[in-house]
């Protein structure tokens, strides 16, 4: 039933249905939404182990090595595009949170420093999920993983701001729960020369411990509680994209099994950190923060 229609639909969506990702994974959802904006004239390099499962299903040129290779191969592709005089092609380099914040953090920093012409995307599901949920540099405070059985004791790295500090032309955070905002940011990134960085926290029902059906709902809560706020830094100027009043972090934390062990004090601590970050973002909204 409708098989032919669906084949046509997958061609248009540039992604094949039925990836090898878990049910409710944000990876294929991100690529579906992103490819709509990026279009056919795009090369995607790299992986993020889980999102790699999604990348295998995309219908545009993609080339991945493996986990510890982030931004680097894209640097080579970018040079090849220059050598061939192909400035019409959009080059996207993706990486997971572990790659981007831990093992290949230096590679992203170096590509940013060289201002390579590519859109670097961090697909952040907040732990090493493909190996069975181990803590990464982007695992949030208090989250259970198999290597932090009592909850992570340190905070998440602020990679978007770290990349912004490299004075790259464009940095943004985006969410699959807000597809229009995501599309606009990718569109903007496409139009800018140089290194663009987009950070997106995607849901992982398996590692975050929640019902896959709530994938988008939980991700939306992440934005609405300001745990994962939406902002962009263009030419050093900060712009907060969603300024709605914050919901209590408890709504977001309580929706996920990985935060089940958090004490009241710990939740208060998280709320305090989020409040500070929100105040900071709002205080600097529309200001030049990177000089």
């Amino acid at each position: 039933m409708y098989n032919d229609e669906f084949e046509k639909y997958y061609e248009e969506q540039l992604i094949q249905g039925g990836t090898t990702c878990c049910p409710g994974c944000g990876g294929p959802l991100f690529w579906k939404l992103a490819l709509k904006t990026l279009g056919k004239n795009t090369i995607v390099y790299g992986d993020g182990p889980c999102a790699m499962c999604a990348l295998r299903s995309i219908k545009i040129p993609h080339y991945a090595i493996h986990f510890s290779f982030i931004a680097d191969g894209a640097t080579g592709i970018s040079a090849a595009l220059r050598a061939k005089g192909r400035n019409d092609v959009t080059l996207v380099s993706s990486g997971g949170d572990g790659a981007s914040s831990d093992i290949s953090f230096g590679k992203i920093s170096a590509a940013a420093e060289r201002n390579e012409n590519m859109i670097q995307i961090c697909i952040d599901n907040e732990a090493y999920m493909n190996t069975g949920i181990q803590k990464s540099g982007l695992t949030p405070y208090g989250a259970w993983t198999t290597t932090t059985p009592t909850g992570k004791e340190s905070n998440k790295k602020d990679i978007p701001m770290i990349v912004a500090a490299h004075k790259v032309p464009y940095v943004a955070t985006a969410s699959v729960a807000y597809p229009q905002d995501l599309a606009r940011k990718l569109e903007k990134a496409k139009s800018i020369d140089g290194f663009k960085y987009i950070h997106t926290v995607i849901p992982c029902p398996t590692g975050w411990r929640f019902d896959p059906a709530k994938a988008v709902e939980v991700t939306r809560l992440g934005v609405d509680t300001w745990v994962n706020p939406l902002y962009e830094v263009e030419a050093g100027v900060l712009k907060v994209n969603r300024k709605a009043e914050a919901k209590p972090v408890q709504e977001y934390l309580g929706a996920q099994g990985r935060f089940r062990r958090l004490s009241k004090d710990q939740i208060a601590y998280v709320q305090g950190e989020v409040d500070k970050k929100r105040d900071d973002l709002l205080a600097n909204d529309a200001k030049k923060i990177i000089h």
């Binding site: 409708y2 098989n3 039925g18 409710g24």
Partner: protein, 70 residues
């Protein structure tokens, strides 16, 4: 393509459906589609039964039913 295994499958009540497109927009696996006649259809070959479409449906037109009864 790996074999899809699912316990539940989405089923739409076309009467309730308002054709808002949310199910198609948020389906992680791109297996929900709105036909030209604004009819919601599922690609059961690839749907994993995650239930995001049902959860995101603003009018509760999609329900998850036991696999085989959709």
């Amino acid at each position: 393509m790996s074999q899809i295994v699912r316990s539940f499958a989405p089923k739409v009540d076309q009467e309730k459906c308002i054709g808002c497109d949310m199910c198609q927009l948020y389906c992680p696996e791109s297996t929900v589609m709105l036909t030209e006649e604004k009819k919601v259809v599922f690609d059961y070959r690839f749907c994993k039964g995650c239930g995001v479409c049902a959860n995101e449906c603003p009018v509760g037109a999609i329900v998850m039913v036991k696999e085989g009864t959709q």
